[in-house]
Amino acid sequence: MLNTASAIISFYERMEDQIAAFYDALARRYPTGREAFAALSKESGRHKEMVVRAYREVITDAIEAGFSFTGLDEADYRIDTELKEGLSLRDALEKALAVEESSRRFCSDASESSRALLADITHAFGWVAKRKANRIERLKSLKEETS
């Protein structure tokens, strides 16, 4: 259950770490997309920092951090980053697209559900959700290039 700001942020941190590690693994495995994957991994780190800072730097004892999120279910946003042996680049990109879509949806939902009370966190998640949409477009292009 993701019902508090702390729970939401922790879940997001873990998710973004998992995504960064996933792209690092892709960069190691597929020379064709090495630079693109490394860039995506680095970006994930920046996104995480952006959201965590928004939380840590604006949280006060007075805001409704414990009661702002109506309750997101982490099961709805699980991502699969396992890379099986022999996975083709095209299939890996397909997997990356699913990962990005899931994380984009989480950021968008987290932004929406806190809109009334936690403006900075709402903004940070909204910003990352937009960036995730861009990443999805970049991955689609990469996929087209590889076919």
Binding site: S6, A7, V58, I59, D61, A62, E64, A65, G66
Partner: protein, 497 residues
Amino acid sequence: MSVLEEPIKEVRTLRNYINGEWVESSSDVIVDVVNPATMKVLAKVPRSSADDVGAAVEAAREAFPRWRRTSPLARSRYLFRLKDLLEEEFEAISRIGTMEHGKTIDESRGETRRGIENVEVAAGVPSLMMGYNLEDVATGIDEYVIMQPLGVFACVAPFNFPFMVPLWFLPYAVATGNTYILKPSSEVPLSMTKLFELLDEVGLPPGVVNMVHGGREVVDAVLRHPGIEGVSFVGSTPVGRDVIYKVGSAHGKRVQAQCGAKNFFVVMPDAVLDPTVASAMTSFFGNTGQRCLSGANLLVVGEDDGFYRDVVDRMIDASRNIRIGYGLDETVQMGPLRAPEKKQRVLGYVEKGVEEGARLALDGRKFDIVGGYPDDCFLGASVFEDVTTDMAIAQDEIFGPVMSVLRARDLDEAIDVINAYSFANSSMIFTSSGGAARQFQYEVECGNIGVNIGIAAPMAFFPFSGMKDSFFGSLHGQGRDAINFFTERKVVIQRWF
């Protein structure tokens, strides 16, 4: 979701920090510091003696002449260094706060941030401490004001915000060139022990900051010691008014005593209810109701019974669903009260409310604890309806998770009800009307007003206000008020022949 890792791993006996050294208290009376969620002992803290206070005053007085000559810029740089260390230790400090106090991790992080913000503001001392001048007050004569430090100041801190409240004062005192003695609450001395470990790392000259653990004997010694210029206090009204302000003033000290409260949370018929209810949950039940800005009395305005029912039903539903447990569990929304006797006190009020004829619409005595922790300090949220202003639950500061619901015909009556109270710390109004909000802000007699804000907690660059029986003194903590409290304005009139 798992419980976050606890940063305190072993039980140790705390020491005082005097003259730049960690020293054992001269007292052999030691008490346990207990985690109110797990009931495990976290540390042992000495009940220091008047002699320990004397040693701290001596060190602080000796350090003062050199420290006041240190330039404000250099003093502020010590605070910048402290700020860096606080950021590095942000999470550890926050988790310690949850362990010793019981509040949720979100609340602890909020408290840590508030404390750090005060360090940031005080670091602006080169600007904040500037005086002012006027050339040619008479022909060839100039006049100017210099703000000067006074000497040794002390703080008697409360249990409800163990990290934040001392930082409403300490950074400003030190930044303005004074030296300092802190007495943390002996219930929650670990956050301040961590702060002083960082202050030690900052490398302040010995004696600039000192910490003496203890209870009443330390407070008495602080209030009576002739070597202390002023005292800051946060706590209950009886202690603040009858002990700290009276005794401190009688001994020639500057005193600022920020005291108790019974705050009103006013819901107007045009309030936006979803965020209002979420704000109410934080206001009434955040920090388990143990804060001087907590909502206590919910005042629903208007004669529309349907609106009243809607507001109260929403409040009850939301209160019923609050997850109660150990604050290091990130899904928990309300932690325990600080100690078993505090829980018993709140329970006494719940029983009194029933005896007085209020209707217990939600009984906080029945609750579940996430994680199966011992129930010594836990209590659920209670909501009383049919409350009248003559009842104890409407009048007294309960300092626990109890919401008393009252009604007022209109805003004028609501304001009259609020102004009849002797407490005057905070009042909140939830409305879509600018006119109603302005009337409320203009006419309500209290220190901190929230307009669609459930906890009207002033930021570090504003004074933490309070009026009537909620504050004794003239200058508050935080911001410019703190700078003024810790300095004297010296006027110089000058001409040259």
